[in-house]
């Protein structure tokens, strides 16, 4: 792959802000999301969910439910294959996933699915749920990380032995795995530290909060051929996971992507689809399953609560010389928290030779966590970026100077392993200093803070096809659900390569049979990796166009170049044409119109596993105002600065920056899962799980920094995830600036801030 990242290229479309191609559908209500699709004769599915946080299932009797008029099928885990406990590929354990989709033997959290009903209406299906008899033997439950790790804790999985410790323990534990990351010699390096600060941080379980509840329709024919219409971050994932869980051939399942109403990582796994498929098979009718908001909160992937201990040693100049971090992340009912990512991120912005990081993945009686935007990174940044701010204050060094002094740059060895190539941390820090917000005056009870965020970004597999139409317009076919304007970015990149107007490109997100495999929309990978496939496929079209022109002109194809959507002869070819008085560029429309005579339709394809996703750095600057009587923290001003590598469609890059900031603000200030003593989630709705509304936020200023990623033809790096990383520590630092109190526990909600204010003033 070329290492030219377009730094000296003059772009026509890249960097412009065309109206998105799917925009009119979405402002007129025509766009169809997961729950918007119906089929004739369709049944409706509802799930029976566990009333206990932890219990053994002794008996399930579905006969009364089945007898209800209008009920067509009732299923339990007996109706899906039991997978071997070790059935895993990559990070996904399919036995766990199967047991999460429908509980087997035990329920592990309140809301865990136990049975499913298909009936002629949702109302009847709900009535039937009440007729299913389940006998439970309630077991003690554990929700808290410290309690779950205690030696006498109630054990969720009797077969679980902590991975990553030698020798393997012989006793079951809720600690699913321990991991370690280290370099140098921490204890020796401590000798060079003039100041050592050690702090403990605690964050709450939060939810992605995507506004569209999970939904799908499945239809299975008598021969087993299955079609699923689903809203997800990856229809190829839905296909692969459903096939694996139900032991079907992948070729038996076709998944048609519906528009997706937000995901943020929460739609990167299956919940309803395998159930709808089985119910459809049993009934011979299409089955629709739509979660309620309550179910989304109780049973789909929250992001983990965490406990993080950070110990930094720095010399007098503020250079960090050694760091020790311990991260404990909640996995939910099954192993697989993002603790590894958190551990890899926590020191990534720091140029540091001596460190030791330990991570623990711990199961508790809560729903299995799922990815949430830069999974694992925000709590880690909360800890590290708060302590670094504290060091700056202790040493009376300007915090920005101190960050710069410790910042990684090209050639630094990242704490998680590789050497960084071109990265934009220093550039974002410089943009921060230059921003008028940084030096604007503050009012009373106001404070200012900033923090750095890091995220790896992903590449992975993408496939795309570019088809030239007879009139020189083009269709771009790809397979990554468009969650925030990626169709427009794909069209921009195709238009750039083909040299045609961006509105002459029609971008399509195709089903699992129409385009090659695409990994899930996630990891901030779509504009980078799928974009790369679109660029390569477009280049293939251009190459063919040049060949067709060469054959018409009867010159050597190497004498044809592509310029502004036209084939242009050069070199000897140009001389020949000049002699014949035929030296004029051949536009794409002419080539397309003549394609039948020059070899047939022109299409380009690319399938790739994209490497070299450039890491992203962001720095957020925030002013808060703290009400000393109520503890309420108001966001007064907010600025986000981020290295995008190259912004293909700047408006949607800004949108990611603003949206990530808003989610981070919610995480910082208000959002948390609240459980009662029985392990029942007490706030499974938008009224009590309080996400930011328009009135809670100011305008969010954005500065896009562009340090091109050398591994992408245009220099693109992922932008979607990193903006959720800095808000929590930036706000914590701002609160400290305002009232002199360090908040180390989330959320920084009025009661929690007030408690700290009272404590600081010597109150009880």
């Amino acid at each position: 792959m070329s290492e030219s990242n377009g730094s000296d290229r003059k772009f026509k479309w890249v960097g412009t802000r065309p109206i998105r191609h799917d925009g009119v559908d979405k402002v007129t209500g025509r766009a169809n999301y997961g729950a918007d699709f119906d089929l004739p004769g369709m049944l409706h599915a509802c799930m029976l969910r566990s009333p206990h946080a932890h219990a053994r299932i002794l008996r399930i009797d579905t006969s009364k439910a089945l007898a209800l008029e209008g009920v067509k099928a009732v299923i339990t885990s007996d109706d899906i294959p039991e997978l071997a406990l070790t059935d895993a590929s990559g990070p996904t354990n399919f036995s766990d996933l199967s047991r999460n989709v429908l509980a087997r033997d035990k329920v592990l959290y309140h809301g865990h699915a136990v049975a499913a009903v298909a009936a002629t209406s949702t109302r009847i299906a709900q009535e039937a749920l009440a007729l299913i008899e389940v006998e439970y033997e309630p077991l003690p439950h554990v929700l808290d990380l410290r309690a779950a790790m205690a030696p006498d804790a109630p054990i969720l999985h009797d077969h679980m032995r902590t991975k990553g410790v030698d020798p393997t323990p012989d006793k079951a534990s809720n600690i699913a795995a321990k991991m370690e990351l280290s370099r140098g010699d921490v204890d020796q390096a401590r000798a060079y530290a003039d100041i050592i600060i050690e702090r403990e941080f605690e964050t709450a379980t939060v939810h992605q909060g995507d506004i569209e509840p999970h939904a799908c329709v499945a239809q299975t024919n008598e021969d087993g051929q299955t079609t699923v219409w689903a809203s997800s971050q990856g229809h190829f994932m839905i296909r692969a996971y459903s096939a694996r869980l139900l032991q079907l051939d992948i070729s038996q399942i076709k998944v048609i992507p519906m528009e997706i109403g937000g995901g943020f990582g929460g739609k990167t796994t299956v919940y309803l689809e395998p159930i709808a498929i089985v119910l459809s098979r049993k009934t011979g009718r299409p089955v629709k399953a739509v979660m309620t908001r309550d179910e989304v909160f109780r049973a789909t992937g929250p992001a983990p609560a965490t406990l993080i201990n950070v110990k930094f040693g720095a010399n007098r100049d503020g250079k960090v010389v050694a760091a020790k971090c311990k991260l404990v992340y909640e996995a939910g009912a099954f192993p697989g928290s993002p603790v590894t990512a958190g551990a890899m991120c926590i020191l990534a912005p720091f140029d540091l030779d001596h460190f030791l990081i330990e991570g623990y993945d711990v199961v508790v009686n809560k729903p299995k966590t799922a990815a949430y935007r830069a999974p694992g990174a925000p709590p880690a940044a909360f800890a590290a970026e708060t302590v670094i701010d504290e060091i700056a204050h202790e040493l009376e060094i300007d915090p920005l100077d101190l960050r710069r002094n410790n910042a990684v740059s090209k050639g630094s060895q990242a704490a998680y392993g590789p050497k960084f190539s071109d990265i934009g941390l220093l550039e974002t820090l410089d943009a921060l200093r230059a921003h008028p917000h940084y030096s604007a005056p503050l009012g009373e009870n106001q404070g200012r803070g900033f923090a750095v965020g890091f995220w790896f970004n992903a590449g992975m597999q993408s496939s795309a096809e570019v088809k030239l139409n007879e009139d020189g317009t083009a269709i771009v076919i790809e397979g990554c659900p468009d969650i925030g304007g990626s169709r427009a970015s794909m069209a921009i990149m195709a238009a750039e390569e083909l040299g045609i107007d961006v509105y002459k490109v029609r971008p399509v997100v195709a089903d699992t049979e129409t385009v090659g495999i695409n990994d899930t929309t996630g990891g901030s990978r779509v504009t980078f990796a799928t974009g790369m496939a679109v660029i390569e496929a477009s280049q293939e079209v251009v190459k063919q166009c040049c060949q067709r022109a060469a054959s018409v002109w009867d010159i050597d194809p190497t004498d044809v170049i592509w310029q502004d959507g036209c084939a242009v002869a050069t070199g000897d070819g140009a001389k020949k044409l000049e002699k014949e008085d035929k030296l004029v560029p051949m536009p794409i429309a002419e080539i397309a119109a003549g394609a039948a005579r020059t070899g047939g339709p022109i299409t380009g394809k690319a399938s790739l596993n994209a490497r070299g996703a450039g890491p992203a750095f962001a720095v957020h600057l925030v002013d808060v105002e703290v009400d000393r009587d109520t503890g309420k923290v108001e966001i007064v001003r907010y600025t986000t600065i981020q290295d995008a590598g190259r912004a293909i469609h700047p408006a949607y890059v800004e949108g990611q920056m603003q949206g990530g900031a808003a989610q981070g603000i919610g995480w910082a200030l208000n959002e948390e899962y609240v459980y009662d003593a029985d392990g029942v989630l007490a706030n499974p709705g938008f009224l009590d799980y309080r996400m930011p509304v328009a009135l809670d936020l100011p305008m969010i200023d954005t500065v896009i920094v562009e340090v091109p990623n050398p591994r992408h033809p245009y220099g693109v790096r992922g932008v979607g995830e990193v903006p959720i990383v800095p808000p929590i520590p930036a706000i914590a630092n701002a609160i400290h600036d305002a009232i002199g109190i360090r908040m180390r526990k989330l959320p920084m909600s009025p009661p929690n801030v007030l408690a700290e204010l009272v404590r600081a003033s010597g109150g009880a």
């Binding site: 979405k26 007129t28 528009e259 930011p692 328009a694």
Partner: protein, 161 residues
């Protein structure tokens, strides 16, 4: 199950009849019976605004109105916002400002913003934020939505139809 009730109403200026159960909400009937799925549902408890519609010109959550209450009323949904080939200025400004990412909240915001501008053609940023606080958007951080509404208000110059 109880028999369905016959309801006569006007939706987006068109006389419409439907049958519904007494427990069914307006958004449910719009979506499931009338196949007008532009009105979305994010919670069905009145907390997200995705189901926003106008009922006799008043902004309501479709999920909190019983469908039988629609009898003899005039309902405006997202499907009635554009006229013929022309988008409503709010729709146009949402597109120009990139005020949507996933778009699931967009119909609700557009209906709510339409109600705002009919009520207050020249709102301040704070008034826009206040009015739109019944609508949740998890993608945008609201910045571009607020900017689009303010810009639309200006371009409409008080003509709020």
């Amino acid at each position: 199950m109880a028999r369905k009730t016959h309801v006569q109403t006007t939706i987006n200026g068109e006389q419409t009849e439907f049958l519904c159960h007494p427990h069914q909400s307006l958004s449910e009937v719009l979506r499931d019976e009338l196949h007008m799925t532009g009105t979305k549902e994010g919670c069905t408890t009145g907390d997200c605004g995705a189901c926003s519609v106008l009922l006799d010109g008043r902004l309501v959550c479709g999920c909190l109105v019983l469908a039988i209450e629609a009898e003899d009323t005039e309902i405006t949904t997202i499907e009635g916002m554009a006229s013929g080939e022309k988008l409503h200025p709010l729709q146009q400004k949402f597109l120009e400002h990139a005020a949507l990412q996933c778009g699931i909240c967009t119909p609700g915001f557009l209906i709510a913003a339409k109600a705002l501008l009919e009520h207050n053609p020249d709102p301040t940023e704070h008034e826009v934020r206040y009015w739109l606080s019944g609508n949740l958007c998890r993608c945008t951080g609201y910045d571009k939505i607020v900017a689009a509404v303010l810009d639309a208000a200006q371009s409409m110059g008080g003509d709020t139809r």
